[in-house]
């Protein structure tokens, strides 16, 4: 399965992208800004997701979960710690990527303006939530499900309108797209770049979608955790 995973999703993404570029006639100076901005933002999201899932997977690989869960540490504290570790990793990756983009393409992410910060924060939170979702699945199915830890965000990428506007998607896909917080982040980002106007509306949708997603995923995680304790699988995870 996983060998098709990357090629297919990449194909989708770049396919829609070219359609978009054809339509616009490829003119504007903004193309580089839009693409690189999108690329960096997307990377933040997937780093945020991966950090959470991999932290957890490492504990499974190391057969260390029982040691952790017999300490007085609460599950909520464990989750907060994954957020913090995720943030630390993102800082590192973010710095490197920003510097590379600047030197390779003379792309300065700060030109996008600090108005984008609320979008970035939401993107990180959404990445964390997806990471938590992957973690819940790994908790339930063991590291056989680890492909999710590394690639779950790529399933969402085609729907998140990262490199092209939602309008470039087929009708059905548009419905899914509008449910995702990430879509509103990228729509909002393009709007800032293209018109210079900060979209409170997109930010509003981002926050609403995020709250809904995070609540659902937290609920999912906790019920998976309870289920795994019920089935006695915590000690048998591998």
């Amino acid at each position: 399965m996983d060998i098709f995973f990357w090629p297919v999703t990449e194909l989708l993404v770049w396919g829609f992208l070219s359609r978009y570029l054809e339509g616009t006639g490829l003119g504007g100076v903004n193309v580089v800004t839009v693409l690189l901005g999108a690329l960096i933002f997307w990377d933040l999201l997937s780093q945020s997701q991966r950090a959470v899932s991999v932290v957890f997977l490492e504990e499974v690989w190391e057969r260390n979960l029982l040691n952790i869960f017999v300490t007085p540490l609460k599950i909520s504290e464990f989750l907060v710690s994954t957020v913090l570790i995720g943030l630390a990793r993102i800082m590192l990756v973010g710095v490197v990527i920003t510097i590379m983009a600047f030197f390779l393409y003379q792309f300065n992410i700060f030109q996008l303006g600090f108005a984008l910060i609320p979008f970035v924060v939401n993107l990180l939170l959404f990445g964390w939530a997806i990471g938590l979702f992957a973690t819940a699945i790994i908790l339930r199915f063991g590291s056989a499900a680890q492909v999710l830890a590394f690639g779950l965000t790529f399933l969402l990428q085609p729907f998140s309108a990262v490199f092209y506007p939602v309008s470039a998607l087929p009708q059905m896909a548009q419905y899914i797209a509008y449910l995702l917080p990430s879509t509103h982040v990228f729509e909002g980002m393009r709007q800032v770049i293209n018109t210079g106007v900060f979209s409170w509306q997109q930010l509003g949708w981002t926050i609403i979608a995020n709250v809904v997603f995070i609540s659902l995923i937290l609920w999912f995680f906790y019920s998976m955790f309870a289920n795994v304790k019920e089935q006695g699988r915590l000690m048998k995870l591998d």
Partner: protein, 246 residues
């Protein structure tokens, strides 16, 4: 003997996995300062019971109280006073031994951690292992490190699932001496599983036998040997497990 405080109270504890009953309405207590052997054949339900005590497995029904408190209501408080070790649980292999001990020390909120690690390292003769990668240890060395971890928070209760599996006779002997020593000096209560009856006879004040999820007998090793008219606990084990047919 004065009546001692129960550290663990288990009543009608049951665990079903689907239609299979792994632990079947067991009741027992472990009293302060005791070393209790939890014995039974493979698949008897020992590990499942210990994991229920630690809130790693949710019981189907029944009651568990530790230090007189309900695990559901006082999880963090109870776990702070307990520790666990098993030959089948490992620690992150890409951390140095001292980093692992320090991390667990912090998770338990241990004060004066440096001193504590030094003491434990002296005790388990792992001082020269501290700067090594945990993943590079032999299984016996890893077991010693696991035991050091299990004592990092000065637990009042130790739950040990086959702690001496994979230890050489020398280290296994030292571990037994150590358990007796912490019992004597610190009044630590220990519940542990082992398949080594000689070891159990040497250090346990009392044993609880479990077979097919049910408690079949309990008493001091001496009492049981006498009761079954055997020469040692090993034969008692065989009789209980085989239903007296040997």
């Amino acid at each position: 003997m004065t009546k001692k405080k129960a550290v663990i109270e288990v009543k009608d504890l049951t665990k079903k996995f689907g239609g299979f009953t792994a632990v079947d309405k067991i009741s027992f207590s472990v009293f302060s300062g005791e070393i209790v052997g939890f014995l039974g054949p493979n698949g008897a339900g020992k590990t499942t019971t210990i994991q229920m005590l630690l809130d790693l497995v949710t019981p189907t029904s029944g009651m568990v109280r530790m230090f007189g408190k309900d695990m559901k209501k006082a999880r963090e408080e109870i776990l702070n006073r307990v520790n666990f070790s098993s030959a089948y649980v490992a620690m992150p292999y890409n951390l140095k031994v001292w980093e692992n001990l320090a991390t667990f020390g912090r998770l338990y909120g241990v004060g004066n951690l440096k001193q504590k690690i030094k003491e434990l390292a002296d005790f388990f003769e792992i001082t020269d292992l501290l700067p090594k990668m945990t993943g590079s240890l032999s299984s016996g060395q890893a077991t010693r490190v696991n035991l050091a971890k299990a004592l990092i928070n000065d637990p009042e209760l130790l739950l040990l699932d086959e702690p001496t599996a994979s230890l050489d006779p020398d280290v296994a002997d030292k571990t037994r001496k150590l358990l007796l020593q912490i019992q004597k000096e610190k009044g630590v209560t220990v519940l542990y599983t082992s398949h080594n009856m000689v070891e159990v006879e040497e250090i346990c004040n009392r044993v609880v036998f479990i077979n097919k999820g049910k408690i079949t007998d309990t008493g001091t090793p001496g009492e049981l040997v006498k009761k079954y008219g055997h020469k040692d606990l090993n034969d008692v084990f065989l009789t209980i497990v085989r239903g007296g047919e040997n």
